[in-house]
Symmetry: C2
Subunit: 213 residues, 2 copies
């Protein structure tokens, strides 16, 4: 199994955590996003979208981090990353999608590039754009976990799962763009619990072989 | 069961198709997005994100269209909206996520409002923004379905499912923003096959009780 990723990609970071939680160690194939390797013919033959992550396993080519993570969960042993109850599964998936659909795509490299090159904005405006969407999205996430009746150490209960896998990389990006996380005590508490686990700590961008500043 | 939606919301449109395919008829509660009803206290008590759709079923409150659709699929009888094989499920989910993560959130009302009010762009620039992301995203979708070895009437095989549920509303939005769909013959063929089914036709925005031009 091979995982194509980039140290700073939030979506690749999610997959790294999931691989670690499931005890699976794919080969790592770096795709340098800032040098545009994701738009080159070789990579687009694998993923027509030209985005990381992509995972290959035999003849199978998988894309989109949430689809990859659910596939991992369905095919690999170990503790499940989603609860068994359909109602709870839906809550966890919805939380993951708040991040994967409504926060992360707005702060993606291709979007920031369009804001700067096509719409003529400077870096300060692009950063403010990111802070706005990440701040608004994480505030909704804080409210969702705040409402949880059975509060545990993680987003939903006492075991880490899909929601935490999405939260930690998004908080990392939030910090990068200067989002004020002080009004999100519950998310910060969950993140601190995640950071103590090797599955999360080892997946951190700074610990990847392609890391550069 | 109650479904909170808006006739023109792509994500609500997806849920309507899924309800129809599963033979479930929830009560419809309109949330008028252009009048800002989604940001009012009553609705945000239901969904802190202030976005449609939201579905209530007994005490359960569900948000995020893909999570709602998978919940429906897991709890209601009838033909499944996802294939049984994990590899195929991952392909279908990835296609749905290309649309739900990487296309639709960029053309959402809140994003267009920010482009116009915070960044000072006119309607023409906002429309060009939408055409760019929808065009690029649907071009990737065309390539994905083009590569399908077992070509059927729908995105993945001969039965409609989650991928088609996401595709049809996105093509409707593409047309609204003037995206050139002529270079996407396979997607147009699939959409035509979907349009023939009452589950899709009855879910069309123009057929909803809150429809206005």
């Amino acid at each position: 199994m091979t995982c194509y990723g980039y140290f700073r990609s939030s979506a690749a970071y999610r997959c790294r955590i999931a691989f670690n939680l499931k005890g699976v160690s794919p080969e790592f194939a770096p795709v340098h996003l800032r040098r545009g390797e994701q738009t080159q013919r070789d990579f687009k033959a694998l993923n027509p979208q030209g985005l990381v992550p992509a995972v290959t396993s035999g003849d199978l080519v998988l894309t989109q981090s949430l689809a990859i993570i659910e596939w991992l969960d369905e095919t690999q042993g170990g503790r499940s990353l989603l609860p068994a109850d359909p109602g709870l599964r839906a809550q966890v998936r919805a939380f993951a999608q708040v991040i994967a659909c409504d926060i992360h795509p707005l702060q993606n490299l291709r979007v920031l590039t369009y804001l700067k090159t096509e719409l003529g904005h400077d870096q300060a405006a692009a950063d403010a754009w990111c802070r706005h969407w990440i701040g608004e999205g994480l505030a909704a996430c804080e409210e969702i976990v705040e409402r949880e009746p059975d509060r545990g150490r993680f987003c939903f209960g006492d075991e880490p799962g899909l929601a935490d896998i999405c939260l930690v990389p998004q908080m990392f990006s939030g910090e990068r763009f200067g989002v004020d996380l002080s009004a999100m005590p519950r998310l910060r508490e969950i993140r601190a619990a995640c950071d103590k686990l090797p599955a999360f700590a080892d997946a951190h961008p700074a610990r990847q072989p392609d890391y550069d500043l």
